[in-house]
Symmetry: C2
Subunit: 345 residues, 2 copies
DNA sequence: GTTATGTTTGCATACGTATTCATTCCGCGC
DNA sequence: GCGCGGAATGAATACGTATGCAAACATAAC
């Protein structure tokens, strides 16, 4: 066990010849303390290397200024971006991120751990949570924000992009470009993002009197998506295989492009158009040059922070469901309709 | 402020007709408590939804079971991998990760924040820290592990791969394959990884009676590396440009390959061989198929966890400098020496 | 039955801070 | 000079838990 203990406010008080209260007030914004006293305290604190103990503080104030972030994985580079912006944004406001990686099964076990820390809020960007634990968090007054997902009918706040509109945009775009056989490679089948993007695609296709050529399951995984592409395209000649594929996120779309081009020797977009979702950094890299639907990470993260910190200071836990729009970003992986501009809404 | 407060050990004690101590002991591993008492307590706790308050607990035990992780950025997908394994590994041992993103300037400001939380240890995978704050952490008995970097002559523990050996291996490999003009695209100039990889390369070249064709600064950034590649290769004919380039990490190497192939229309490896460092997931993707030196993330993370948790329970803060070996992984981005096997040590 | 040994238990206290409350201090208006 | 209001201060307490200590209890040995 750690032998040397850090200096406490009492130590500082002794050295500065003031009371412990004075020290506390010096470090509490807006408290009443004379300039001279403050000076003495700060001097003593500096010479001792004193820093307030955040745990003892939160024990009193009942605000830990810690936000729990629950993730399922970090392979998909959408999430590292989210995590970086989120952490930086929260740090700027005096909050900090505690990271929890959920097991594939679900987030219930990590939630048990989270509840031990008296976190000020929870951001869930992972498998959804059981309603039992959601109730418990609500009872404890801990706000939860579902990020990039939502649970229909649940009382939780959420921040998502307009996945349905995105799916529609992709469908309309592919139809306009004259594609005849449009396929879908799906994400995790129970994810709201997957369902909404799929529903949007179907909607656009049926509006145009079309049906989806077929779909395969990629489960939001690189390897599974590669496998799905193989099943969909191997040993098939042009009339019998898709001429366009909408992949439910970029992470999988990169896998699909890799298989199409390097295993199956197909040309993108000449033989097959590929469209993804997220606009991760790699989508813009020339090796892929992937047409995709942007998820505006910055506004999404800002919205999440606002909801979380708004609820922290508020009595009443209020529900917000924020939907951030995202543009279809046209790049080289999909054929363009004749004479179309480089970006459409 | 949160109105409803969570149930406390006293609430549970009252309901179970025992003392608060009994409740505490029920939740303390290895404490002496009768089976029947334990049962009553657990039952009461469950019905109230009680969970021990981790802050109050760490106030007493002086062990928060929180590890601070300091990162500079998450673009380079080496770090998300580290973060995921680290977080999972620590969770398994009852510890948790608090994330701090350092400003480009340095980590001193976030360290000030870290010290407010009574973290059990610090893993620095970011710009190095000032010796002043390092002293302070040592005085406070907080172990620091430098991850993927070290400060020569500093008393801190560190976990790195054998960057020098890696650099040597790359140099020898490129020479063996008959390259005549071997260039280097550097990472952050003050990073130990960059210095060691460079020193290793130089060593191998001079052993072969060669010199480095030249170098450019990529600062471990995708954009800067792309720019460096442009400067190095634009408007130059074969005798006047490198026929091989060692890029200080994969993240930059991907940028270099993108520029070489898609902007400058050069063939890799026919016109130029490219070798990276890290073996990030993308390096294995067919679009890049990047020859690179593996950094064995799992053993590195395991070593870091062992050092941190080892120091936590120990009186004496002891220094460890772990160096994990990594293989050169041969793929398609670099010409092979005649008849070489697919993996060499 | 007695003594010795080991196991449970509750009381009281400590961890380091914020905050209430009462007190003191100071300047100011009249 | 008196009283008044506001600012500054310190003593005391609370936050929720772990743990040393002594008392109570059970068990075993004889």
């Amino acid at each position: 066990m750690t032998r040397k203990s850090r200096p406490t406010s009492a130590d500082v008080a002794r050295l500065a010849n003031v009371s412990q209260s004075a020290v506390s007030r010096t470090f509490t914004l807006g408290a009443s303390v004379a300039p001279e006293t403050k000076r003495k305290v700060l001097e003593a604190a500096k010479s001792l290397g004193y820093r307030p103990n955040a745990f003892a503080r939160s024990l009193i104030t009942r605000n830990s200024r810690i936000i729990a972030v629950v993730l399922a994985y970090l392979d998909n580079s959408f999430y590292p971006r989210v995590l970086e912006l989120l952490s930086r944004g929260l740090q700027r406001k005096g909050y900090h991120v505690m990271l929890f990686l959920a097991a594939p099964g679900g987030a219930d076990d990590v939630l048990q751990e989270i509840l031990q820390y008296q976190v000020a809020g929870i951001l869930m960007a992972s498998a959804t949570l059981s309603s039992v634990l959601a109730k418990e968090c609500e009872a404890a007054g801990i706000p939860i924000v579902l990020f990039n997902r939502y649970i229909p009918g649940s009382p939780n706040s959420s921040v998502t992009s307009d996945n349905y509109a995105g799916g529609v945009a992709v469908g309309e775009f592919l139809v306009a470009a004259g594609h005849e056989r449009i396929a879908y490679i799906a994400g995790a089948s129970d994810a709201s993002t997957n369902k909404d993007r799929w529903a949007g695609l179907i909607k656009a296709l049926s509006e145009a009197g079309r049906a989806c050529w077929g779909q395969a399951d990629g489960a939001y995984s690189y390897d599974r998506a590669a496998q799905a592409a193989r099943e969909m395209f191997s040993d098939r000649a042009p009339p019998d295989r898709p001429d366009a594929v909408f992949v439910a996120n970029d992470h999988m779309a990169l896998a699909v492009m890799d298989v199409l081009r390097h295993e199956l020797r197909l040309k993108v977009p000449e033989d097959v158009s590929v469209v993804g979702y997220d606009d991760v950094p790699q989508a813009a890299w020339p090796a892929y040059d992937l047409t995709t639907v942007e998820q505006a990470v910055e506004p999404m993260v800002d919205a999440a922070i606002n909801i979380l910190l708004g609820q922290v200071s508020n009595e009443r836990v209020q529900r917000h469901n924020v939907v951030i729009p995202g543009d279809l970003v046209l790049r080289g992986s999909a054929r363009l309709p004749g004479g179309l501009a480089r970006t459409m809404p």
